[in-house]
């Protein structure tokens, strides 16, 4: 994402004026005297037109594509996320990778700004970007084919005892994270990108995820997973130095990039149903109502792991997810940006649901692996969850308007500042 102060800022500023009017009109709908609201609207704007007074469409919102970092990481998570992993064809060499990334970058740059891709056979579907972002990642084989220097952590995660990994949800040479507030936008962007990738790579796996629909909850609200838990409270906040330190890598061609761990976590909702509310809260160490730690009242209160019950047990149990995920080492933190999934059930079951766990961190080995190792050893939530897919990707930095994603790896170009 480009630094604040680029075009996005003026767009945001421009919205404030109309926002006031929408509030007034919204109030009218909600029962405030309509005549009063209309009168106020006239007072604010002596020449109101129907067009100006209408609610701004979220479909017209865009997230800048070019910049130091790729979009879709520090972007407030959109409602719909599609994760597609590609396998490179055996014939795809370094030059082909550059051609592929030029084409895919151009597609993404246009589509995210609400313009059709070149040779877009359904151009009308591109006209509602709805905060579309396309984020590219590279697997180990991509970097090897590019004859680039791979970070040491760019490999499959160590085997965890809880893992029951399926090849159809694991690994891959290219990651496409395609996210927007509109599922039709996501589908069209995916179709366009995958058509253009077809000469170079084939689809290995695809995972479709969702959060709350746009407008259901306030933007920035921590998501809930299908266990009903508030999921992601301890994330560093985008735009802070803390976030930058946790997420962005500063080394070589990867400067401005990061890593993505994508794990498919099956959630046994039937077994979870048998656990009462108190047990559920003990398992995670947070209240279900608002995600506050069992020692606090508000979501973002710091958990107090020293607090004990009158009979001397820790209020936040030793086996709870929040206790086990927390490290004494401040370096061992990650930024989570996952999505729920709810597949078609099979074999007489009523659900086949879970979480597409997605985390971004500067260094997988230093940040992610220690946390997951602790959770593998002990985390009561493991009783109801099972990892069934796992993949690690390097996320290259963003690109400038005359570059393409991956150019620092494929052409030695300097990353945009």
């Amino acid at each position: 994402m480009p630094a604040p102060g680029t075009g996005a800022g003026s767009g945001r500023g421009g919205m404030t004026g109309s926002t006031r009017r929408q509030f007034l009109l919204g109030g009218a709908v909600a029962g405030v005297g309509a005549a009063t609201a209309i009168g106020a609207d006239h007072a604010l704007n002596t020449t109101p037109s129907t067009e100006e007074a209408s609610v701004p469409l979220n479909g017209q919102e865009t997230v800048p594509f070019h910049g130091t970092h790729q979009a879709g990481i520090d972007t407030d998570a959109q409602a719909h996320g599609l994760f597609v992993a590609l396998d490179l064809l055996d014939t795809t060499d370094r030059d082909d990778l550059a051609r592929m990334m030029r084409i895919l970058t151009d597609d993404a740059a246009r589509l995210t700004q609400g313009s059709p891709a070149l040779a877009d056979s359904e151009p009308e579907l591109a006209l509602s970007p709805a905060r579309l972002t396309v984020t590219f990642g590279f697997g180990p084989r991509f970097v090897a084919r590019a004859q680039g220097e791979a970070p040491g952590w760019l490999k499959a995660l160590p085997s965890f005892t809880v893992d029951r990994l399926l090849p159809e949800f694991s690994d891959g040479d290219v990651l496409l994270q395609i996210a927007a507030d509109d599922p039709l936008t996501v589908a069209h962007a995916a179709r366009m990108l995958l058509k253009d990738a077809r000469s170079f790579a084939s689809v290995r796996w695809s995972q479709q995820g969702f959060r709350r629909a746009h407008g259901s909850v306030r933007p920035g609200t921590t998501m809930r997973n299908l266990f009903g838990q508030v999921d992601g409270t301890s994330n560093p906040a985008p735009g802070t130095a803390d976030f930058d330190q946790v997420v962005w890598n500063g080394e070589g061609w990867l400067a401005g990039g990061t890593s993505a761990v994508v794990r498919r976590i099956g959630m046994d909702l039937d077994k979870w149903d048998r656990l009462d509310r108190g047990g559920r809260e003990q398992a995670v160490g947070r209240f279900l109502s608002n995600g506050a730690p069992l020692t606090g009242t508000n979501e973002f209160d710091e958990p107090d792991f020293e607090a004990t019950t009158p009979i001397g047990f820790p209020v936040i149990p030793e086996f709870s997810h929040v206790r086990r995920a927390r490290s004494e080492n401040p370096a061992e933190r990650i930024f989570r940006r996952g999505y729920n999934y709810d597949d078609r059930p099979a074999g007489g079951a009523v659900s086949r649901s879970g979480l597409i766990f997605v985390s971004f961190q500067a260094d997988v080995a230093r940040q992610f692996v220690p946390v997951q190792t602790r959770l593998d050893q002990l985390d009561l939530l493991n009783e109801w969850t099972v990892p069934i897919g796992s993949a690690v990707f390097v996320i290259p930095p963003g690109c400038s308007e005359d570059g393409f994603v991956g150019d620092t790896l494929l052409t030695g170009k300097q990353a945009p500042q």
């Binding site: 767009g11 945001r12 404030t16 926002t19 313009s115 006209l127 253009d196 306030r218």
Partner: protein, 208 residues
């Protein structure tokens, strides 16, 4: 009922940087050449007039959103929006590229049997002053009649247009995979075929 207020307020607080866009499809064709690498990059224009007049056709015309269809051998076609920003009409009389030994300027018309066919346009492409000529699948296009090498997705191809005042305009466009643009071609030589394996889905006539 307070949701309206809540949503609107929080929107302005959102950390995500967003900007409104009001892009309309029609406006895209008239847009200036994009700055993206290799996408309708203007290479140069020459002033063909011997008298060195202020604005030759080659200096007035620019392409936006240009691309050429990938093909293994045989025929292909190039598309995009050619905008004439000059004060007089211009006429494209020919096109050249190293990618094909022969090019034609094509229009797509309905024949007596009611089929859409493409054929070489008589007199070239006229672009009125201030107007944009859309070269698109199913419509006008620049036909590459005989590729010298395979055109692979992501490559860039340079073209030179020559106008009736003998000025020229050079540009490069990227190669894209595309399954359409398979209109029937009625021309002097019916044999060459578009190189794509999937290009001849309807099996009628010669693809191009």
């Amino acid at each position: 009922m307070n949701n309206q207020l809540t949503i609107r307020q929080s929107k302005t607080q959102s950390k995500t940087m967003t900007a409104s866009t009001s892009t309309r499809l029609g406006a895209l064709l008239a847009a200036a050449a994009l700055a993206l690498a290799g996408c309708g990059t203007t290479v140069g224009a020459t002033d063909g007039g011997a008298d060195g007049s202020a604005s030759s056709a080659g200096q007035s015309v620019a392409i936006a959103d240009g691309w050429v269809k990938a093909a293994g051998s045989g025929m292909s076609a190039a598309f995009g929006g050619l905008t004439n920003s000059g004060s007089g009409d211009v006429t494209v009389v020919s096109a050249t590229t190293e990618a094909s030994s022969m090019l034609e300027l094509h229009e797509t018309v309905e024949n007596e049997a009611g089929e859409m066919i493409m054929r070489e346009i008589e007199g070239g492409f006229v672009i009125p002053a201030g107007d944009t000529l859309s070269l698109e699948p199913g419509g006008n296009h620049i036909m590459l009649m005989d590729l010298t090498d395979p055109l692979e997705a992501g490559e860039e191809v340079a073209f030179t247009l020559t106008f009736s005042d003998e000025s020229t305009y050079e540009f490069t466009v990227p190669v894209k995979d595309y399954s359409g643009a398979n209109e029937n071609y009625v021309g002097g030589d019916p044999e060459p075929e578009m190189g794509d394996a999937d290009a001849g889905a309807d099996g009628t006539g010669t693809e191009g």
